[in-house]
């Protein structure tokens, strides 16, 4: 298949946004009849590349050809008409309409302006039969599972004579059986000569389905590889961008004594927590004063673990014991009552209230914990806020400025302060250092160490292995939505071993049992 001419080429693509260079001189090619995986960590430029390709963004530089002809799409609709269809991560169909209508709406066969429903259903059945799907085309789409909906979206996409099919993380909300169904259809379409661009975070899936892999990192092209010639470990290296031997040289910080900490009753012990479609059941214990690192690639289920522990999502089953007593963490309010605090990864959407002042943002959680009928006296507020503005070195040191005017790092500190004020016993930090400058990063790392020395338990989630290693007593490794291992952070543990665990899941068996 490599001998044929590429159906699609992108050469020298560059794209900048104000202050960010999203893509820099990226080349990409796609051959008919192949599944080509586009890999990279978040922020590597995968979505930008797809958006440039489908005309959502203009290119600053570079050229795109389709069948050898230069093209420049003005938007997804035009791209679709030219044969480049995209199926997004979220199913973008209307669940209230029938399966058939979802495939054909906007281009229904009509007679004198009236939709010919019989013809719509007949064509829908024919199209689905081609995908080997046996559905009731007049049933509402919402009565089918997400996986089927995803496949209906593909049916809609390929009906427009698609030659290039872009699947942007189609598997992120499917379970294993559903993924298998999807892959069967992908293989079939590939065999029909359609070129498929496949974006996913799941390494196993890449090796199962992809013929070729292109890796992006920080907006640049790392390389294009045949799947058979790129071992899984090398792929992880290329995505993260560090050779393993370099990582091995990282200076080892003081390892804390895990055994001593784990003697007492665990502060929080969950067993068989899980949520179908989000994270496989896992068990985890966290002791007072312990920092548990949660490592894994993005999309591996780290945030999902945090959300379950905070009660933001409800677990499907399992038990939780707090201070050795059976308890439950079903809602955030319950979790807060038990002294759990959660700094979410998505601070803009889920944490910071941009229009409120630094002071108002900081006292939010404490006020919520006290109940709204017992306002915190203003003097007490000022004391607390002053203390944390100083302790965390928040700039500007004016508690009355709206948080929107602060830099990302300072916003993160305000969010941290919000939870610290409530004096939580377990603090969950989801990517607290992402997207902030190195100075603020160090301060936050230092703070985590201080807090745990003071007896607070911390669940520390980060994509940066060095950081996890530096801070944690114990590292839980996530991979493809499973907690595949829990490794004590002793002399034998280094980034290399974590990375191998991420890449191969070699500890899956012991972790699962």
């Amino acid at each position: 298949m490599t001998d044929s001419r590429p159906v699609l080429t992108m050469t020298g693509i560059s794209k900048s946004f104000p202050g960010v260079r999203a893509l820099h001189d990226v080349n990409f090619r796609l051959f008919p009849g192949e599944v080509h995986a586009l890999m990279g960590e978040n922020g590597a430029g995968k979505s930008t590349l797809i958006k440039v390709l489908t005309g959502v963004y203009d290119t600053d530089q570079g050229a795109i050809t389709l069948d050898g002809e230069p093209v420049s799409f003005t938007g997804p609709m035009q791209a679709t008409a030219a044969g480049v269809s995209t199926v997004f991560q979220e199913v973008n169909l209307c669940t209230n309409l029938s399966v058939a209508e979802n495939i054909f709406i906007g281009r229904e066969p009509r007679l004198l302006g009236a939709v010919r429903w019989g013809e719509v259903r007949r064509r829908a059945r024919a199209l689905l039969a081609r995908l080997d799907l046996d559905l009731d085309v007049s049933a509402p789409l919402g009565s089918y599972s997400l996986a089927i909906q995803q496949m209906v979206a593909i049916a809609r996409a390929i009906d427009i004579k698609a030659r290039v099919l872009i699947l942007d993380e189609p598997t992120s909300s499917l379970d294993a059986g559903e993924v298998a169904q999807l892959f069967r259809i992908m293989r079939q379409l590939r065999d029909e000569g359609i070129a498929i661009l496949f974006v996913t975070h799941f390494l196993d899936q890449v090796y199962e389905i992809a013929d070729r892999i292109t890796v992006l990192r920080n907006g640049g092209l790392v390389g294009e590889y045949l799947t058979t010639e790129l071992p899984q470990l090398s792929l992880v290296e290329k995505m993260i961008g560090k050779e393993l031997d370099v990582l091995e040289g990282i200076e080892e910080h003081s390892r804390r004594d895990l055994a001593a900490l784990e003697e007492g009753t665990p502060l929080v012990a969950v067993s068989n927590f899980g949520r179908s479609g989000a994270v496989e059941p896992f068990s985890l214990t966290i002791h007072a004063g312990e920092v548990v690192g949660l490592a894994g690639l993005l999309g591996s289920g780290r945030t999902e673990v945090a959300r379950l522990l905070f009660g933001a999502d409800r677990t499907d089953g399992g038990q939780v014991a707090i201070d050795g007593t059976a308890s439950s963490l079903r809602t955030p309010a319950q979790a807060i009552d038990h002294g759990v605090g959660f700094c979410s990864e998505n601070r803009r959407a889920e944490g910071i209230v941009a229009d409120l002042s630094v002071r108002e943002n900081m006292i939010l959680a404490m006020q919520a914990a006290r109940g709204w009928l017992r306002p915190i006296p203003r003097r007490r507020q000022d004391e607390l806020v002053d203390k944390y503005v100083k302790a965390l070195n928040i700039r500007p040191a004016d508690p009355e400025v709206p948080v929107r005017n602060l830099s990302g790092g300072n916003q993160q500190k305000v969010l941290l302060a919000r939870w610290l004020i409530t004096e939580p016993r377990l603090l969950i930090l989801d990517e607290p250092t992402r997207g902030i400058d190195i100075g603020a990063k160090t301060e936050i790392q230092k703070l985590v160490t201080q807090l745990s020395d003071g007896g607070m338990a911390v669940l520390f989630i980060s994509a940066e292995l060095e950081e996890v290693l530096r801070l944690s007593h114990k590292v839980a490794v996530m991979r493809d939505r499973q907690m595949v291992a829990q490794l004590a952070n002793d002399e034998s543990l280094d980034a290399d071993r974590i990375m191998q665990t991420i890449a191969s899941g070699s500890h899956r068996e012991e972790a699962d049992r």
Binding site: P76, C94, T95, G106, E108, R110, P140, S145
Partner: protein, 329 residues
């Protein structure tokens, strides 16, 4: 992987789910009618049903327009005021001696124009329909009193003949012209929703506007269209009301928008959009009408009981919709 496993993901009771609210309304209507027939002998006269249509023809037309709006997930609070304004304008122009045909044309243009304007504001400025149509409601109501502070009688020959014309059978049962007009509106609306791209786009937008946009559907155009349609229906409703009352009164139809919304929701259209039928709306209007008739027949009950019953029903129906809708999430 066999095709057999692919169908396994189906839910069990899909068949009537979309129709459950409409069927519930139909059942309710039949029960109410049965109660009426069993309690009052005069109730079994077919003319009772015809009278419900005669008294509520204008409401039905307005409710049909509202159905379009609610199906997209929007709301139109201006309908009652637009009905009143249309009747007022007609009465005032006829009083000035303008020919009936010209008055009809003008009166039928006012509502859709206002609807078009509101639709444009809602779409282009991305403002909540609630607040935009609330503004439209105040504007139209203000225009009514601006035209005249007092009721204006209509003596025009065409209007009076439309008002008094009875279409009936030899046994003496009859309906008014308004009822026929209302039925024509209902049939056109039902066809539009079921068989035209405009209608299907209305459902798609109500289901998921974001998806509709990504599927390349003309979301903006459709959204503006539904408010224009609602305006047109209100205008027709206003004309029918002026046939019925032979006057234009500045304070007529106050709160009618809420009756209309109630009728549409009781008729099974989901307030969040995407599901419902014009036929359901017909049933919803009938339910309202039959409740009124029952209370009139009883004689001892205060007319406010209508409101109390409607309130209870509305509550029951939104709960029903919620219970069915929960499965969609």
């Amino acid at each position: 992987m066999t095709t057999g496993t692919l169908t396994a993901g189906r839910t069990r009771f899909r068949l009537p789910r979309k129709q459950i609210p409409v069927l519930a309304t139909l059942a309710l209507l039949l029960v109410m009618y049965a109660i009426g027939v069993s309690q009052y002998t005069a109730f079994s006269n077919v003319q009772v049903i015809f009278n419900v249509f005669i008294d509520n023809g204008f409401l039905l037309v307005v409710a049909v327009g509202m159905t379009f709006v609610i199906l997209t997930g929007g709301i139109d609070l201006s309908v009652g005021s637009v009905v009143a304004m249309t009747a007022m304008v007609s009465a005032a122009l006829l009083q000035d001696g303008m020919p009936a045909a010209l008055v009809l044309v003008i009166a039928l243009l006012i509502g859709p124009t206002l609807g078009l304007l509101m639709g444009c504001v809602i779409h282009f400025f991305e403002i909540q329909p609630f607040i935009v149509t609330l503004a439209g409601m105040f504007f139209a109501r203000g225009m009514c009193t601006f035209i005249s502070g007092a009721s204006i009688p209509i003596t025009d020959g065409f209007w009076t003949s439309m008002s008094q014309e009875r279409i009936g059978n030899p046994r003496g049962n009859f309906v008014s012209i308004s009822v026929l007009i209302a039925f024509v509106v209902v049939v056109i609306a039902a066809y539009t929703l079921a068989y035209t791209r405009l209608g299907r786009n209305v459902y798609a937008i109500g289901g998921n506007p974001q998806s509709a946009l990504l599927m390349g559907l003309p979301v903006g155009r459709t959204r503006i269209a539904v408010y224009t349609i609602s305006g047109l229906c209100s205008a027709i409703g206003g004309i029918l009301l002026s046939f019925y009352t032979l006057s234009g009164a500045p304070l007529i139809g106050v709160g009618m928008e809420l009756d209309v919304i109630a009728a549409v929701v009781i008729g099974g259209t989901v307030l969040t959009g995407g599901a419902g039928y014009v036929f359901g709306t017909v049933l919803g209007v009938l339910v309202l009408g039959v409740i009124q008739t029952l209370i009139t027949f009883d004689g001892s009950l205060n007319s406010w009981w209508t409101k109390i019953v409607i309130g209870g029903l509305l509550f029951a129906f939104i709960l029903l919709q919620r219970l069915i809708g929960i499965r969609y999430k």
